[in-house]
């Protein structure tokens, strides 16, 4: 009796321990490093004949061309069996998930998004409000996608960007990730990641997103896409982006060119802090930004009459930096406020946080009030170091 009982347990074990439903070996995975989303245009990519004949195809609406880029693990290691450092796949479909399923019919690997570094949205897609809402909902809901993923808007098509093979880092995802994380950046792009973008979008749908530009054989992350009500309405250039980043207090280091003594001098910012606050004066809201910067000169003029060691020239340069920065920042703020009428700098959120009672008053017609907000910027620029020579 006892033996039978034991035998029964052992037999049970053979059923319970036979394996794992979810077992997938690491070499059976494609670690998608970058996702590109573009608009599907019927004229350019007509559906093949045999697909049209599919009887059960119930009004399938293809909307996107979705491109995946993944490092080819066969090219890693000592005994690499492949020269190609990366694999690019694309498919026409109506969302991420369909692409995964469609590509599954063409590849022998499983897809995983846990290590996805970057999502690139094509310009055309970004201009469509509904598509943007879908895509961002998807990314927020996705259980594999890290919330630290960079989300960028491509000038032109995302696929173009992803096709470019950089000589140093061919895998698009890692390349963009390394660009945005490196220390010598110049604040020429918004470094917001998915999480921060989602926070802004949840609030009112206005945000600044980094732009990625395909060049000849290289990729450039520079400039900003302006998102209003979940859709792309315009761009900020590189210099304008620096100004916007100052207002958001996201500048670590930046370079400001100033006109001085009939030439252009670089003032390199090493340290900066922006403090913004709101004042209500005679029923009008005034937005005041106080910016403190510290920096050094990397370049001056050989044999100049006014030596850089002269305290007067240092003061003059500081004044020049102050004027230049104030002008740039004012121009950018005006562009966002008057031209695009978009609260992408988060003024509404600022009021909600620091002046909740005021927010209760202005919330309902915030759009109108935002246009008439007065803006003031005060820069306190300090020149700390002058390099190795006098």
């Amino acid at each position: 009796m006892k033996t039978q009982y034991r035998l029964f347990i052992i037999l049970c074990l053979s059923i319970l321990l036979t394996g794992c439903w979810d077992l997938i070996e690491i070499n059976q995975y494609f670690f998608i490093s970058a996702i590109g989303i573009d608009m599907y245009k019927k004229e350019e990519n007509p559906i093949e004949e045999d697909e049209k004949e599919e009887i059960n195809k119930i009004a399938q609406e293809d909307r996107f061309i979705i491109t995946y880029s993944t490092p080819d693990l066969r090219a890693v290691g000592k005994n690499a069996t492949s020269d190609e450092p990366r694999i690019i796949m694309s498919s026409i479909s109506s969302n991420f998930y369909e692409t995964t399923k469609e590509l599954a019919t063409r590849t022998n690997r499983n897809f995983t998004f846990t290590h996805t570094k970057v999502v690139i949205i094509g310009e055309e897609v970004a201009k469509n409000q509904n598509y943007m809402k879908e895509i961002f909902d998807n990314m927020g809901r996705h259980e594999q996608l890290s919330r630290k993923t960079s989300v960028l808007i491509a000038k032109g098509e995302a696929k173009e960007v992803m096709k470019i093979e950089d000589p140093f880092e061919p895998v698009t995802g890692y390349l963009v990730n390394q660009i945005t994380e490196k220390k010598q950046g110049g604040a020429r792009y918004s470094d917001m990641v998915l999480e921060e973008i989602l926070t802004e979008l949840y609030f009112n749908g206005d945000v600044l997103m980094p732009r990625i530009v395909p060049g000849k054989g290289e990729i450039k992350v520079a400039g900003t896409g302006i998102i209003k009500d979940f859709r792309l309405i315009g761009w900020l250039g590189e210099i304008e982006t620096i100004a916007a980043m100052f207002l958001l207090d996201r500048v670590n280091t930046a370079l400001i060119n100033i006109k001085y003594l009939d030439t252009i001098l670089p003032y390199i910012i090493t340290n900066t802090k922006t403090k913004t606050h709101l004042a209500v004066e005679e029923g009008k809201i005034k937005y005041i930004a106080n910016i403190d910067t510290e920096g050094y000169m990397q370049q001056y003029i050989l044999d100049a009459e006014d030596k850089l060691t002269d305290q007067r020239s240092i003061t003059a340069i500081e004044k020049q930096v102050k004027d230049t920065l104030e002008k740039q920042i004012k121009a950018t703020f005006n562009k966002l406020q008057k031209e695009f009428k978009v609260d992408a700098l988060g003024l509404g959120r600022h009021i909600r946080k620091f002046k909740p009672d005021l927010w209760d008053e202005v919330e309902d017609n915030w759009d109108d009030i935002f246009e008439n907000i007065e803006f003031e910027v005060n820069v306190d620029a300090r020149l700390r170091r002058i390099g190795m020579t006098k």
């Binding site: 439903w21 979810d22 996608l145 890290s146 609030f203 909600r352």
Partner: protein, 376 residues
């Protein structure tokens, strides 16, 4: 008898263990969704509701602790029979069992859903649940000492990783998101208290654990301490997730604490994603909650059937919890079900029953004291 005592098998646990068992029951899975519920209903002022609910929760804790200390050495069945009579006791304890059953089933299901979503995509939900339940049954059958020791030993495994991960999170937190912190709407807060208060459900199981305390007279301060600790933990998780997601962003999350794990990246570390660690903690939290509810049910059933050994009741509970946990059709329904469940059975077990018992017990004591005076 002497031999058994030598090995410490006297079926008594320390006050700290009692308090920790209660803490595990309270935390359960409510903590997963609490921050987003708070943000959704109350916005940035959600913390006020937590503080008030925590303060209210001290009332039943005090009542139960004092009641059980009053009748030291007697279990809840005997106490209740003594105070409100046997038939009513049967009814009341059945309701308490149903309350624990609901909590257990809820924990089981949410546990399964989360594991399936993040970890085991193609493993059938049934297998996940059964594995968990069988392990719990095994632990619960080891009597109160095993259960209590387990609930103590897992604490560092929960606390240390959470502390490390919070440290990594700090640079990403925007604490201005907590503002406006003092813009409080009293009416809204008042209305939200009932639902927030049930995040402290589980206190009622002190009715069972307190019997095993070595020294119930001094248990009160430990129990209150744990309730305060739980309140602080709730506040902590609310503030961290609010700082990370912002008011509206937090309200949109289903399980904000799990979403937080998506937002942590160890800077240039070998392991980039920490979901694995979060899942490990999550398994422990769900396990301890399920364990304590199941243990309470086992004991109550044993006492109601008046048998010495109650551990034979554990295994039959398994199919009950299992099928109950599978009733809700989807994730949204799970929360609707548990809401109704706690409103009916939770109110009874957590507030009504202890209050009645305690009030009558105090009155009875006074009556007896008077009687004694008269006879003397």
């Amino acid at each position: 008898m002497e031999m058994i005592k030598m090995y410490g098998k006297n079926n008594k646990i320390s006050n700290l263990q009692v308090a920790f068992l209660m803490g595990h029951t309270i935390i359960g899975v409510g903590i997963l969704s609490l921050p987003s519920t708070l943000a959704e209903v109350l916005g940035t002022s959600g913390w006020v509701a937590v503080v008030i609910a925590g303060a209210i929760a001290i009332i039943p804790v005090t009542m139960i602790s004092k009641l059980m200390a009053m009748y030291e050495g007697k279990n809840i069945f005997e106490i209740s029979s003594h105070i409100i009579g046997r038939p009513l006791t049967y009814v009341a304890l059945t309701l308490v069992i149903i309350d624990a059953l609901g909590q257990g089933a809820f924990v089981t299901r949410i546990f399964g859903e989360v594991i399936k979503m993040f970890l085991l995509f193609s493993t059938p939900l049934e297998v996940i649940l059964l594995t968990m339940l069988l392990t719990v049954v095994y632990t619960v059958r080891s009597e109160v000492e095993g259960v209590a020791r387990f609930s103590m030993i897992v604490i560092p495994f929960i606390v240390i990783p959470i502390l490390i991960m919070s440290t990594v999170l700090i640079p990403d937190l925007d604490f201005t998101n907590l503002l406006p912190i003092f813009k409080v709407n009293p009416v809204q807060i008042f209305n939200s208290i009932p639902s927030i208060f049930f995040s402290f459900g589980g206190i009622e199981l002190l009715l069972i654990y307190m019997y095993y305390s070595k020294n119930p007279k001094s248990a009160l301060k430990y129990n209150i301490g744990v309730v305060i600790a739980v309140t602080v933990l709730y506040l902590f998780s609310f503030f961290i997730s609010l700082a990370r997601f912002g008011e509206k962003g937090l309200a949109a999350q289903l399980w904000p604490l799990l979403s937080l794990s998506k937002a942590i990246q160890f800077p240039s570390a070998f392991i980039e994603n920490v979901e694995g660690i979060i899942m490990a903690i999550w398994v422990i939290i769900a396990f301890t909650t399920l364990m304590s509810t199941m243990f309470s049910m086992t004991v109550l059933l044993g006492k109601m059937c008046k048998v010495e050994e109650s551990k034979y009741f554990t295994l039959p509970l398994l199919p009950l919890i299992y099928f109950l946990s599978l009733i809700p059709g989807n994730v949204v329904l799970i929360y609707d079900f548990i809401q109704v469940f706690t409103y009916i059975f939770g109110t009874f077990a957590l507030l009504l029953y202890p209050t009645v018992l305690y009030t009558l017990a105090v009155l009875k004591r006074k009556g007896e004291a008077k009687k004694n005076e008269n006879t003397v």
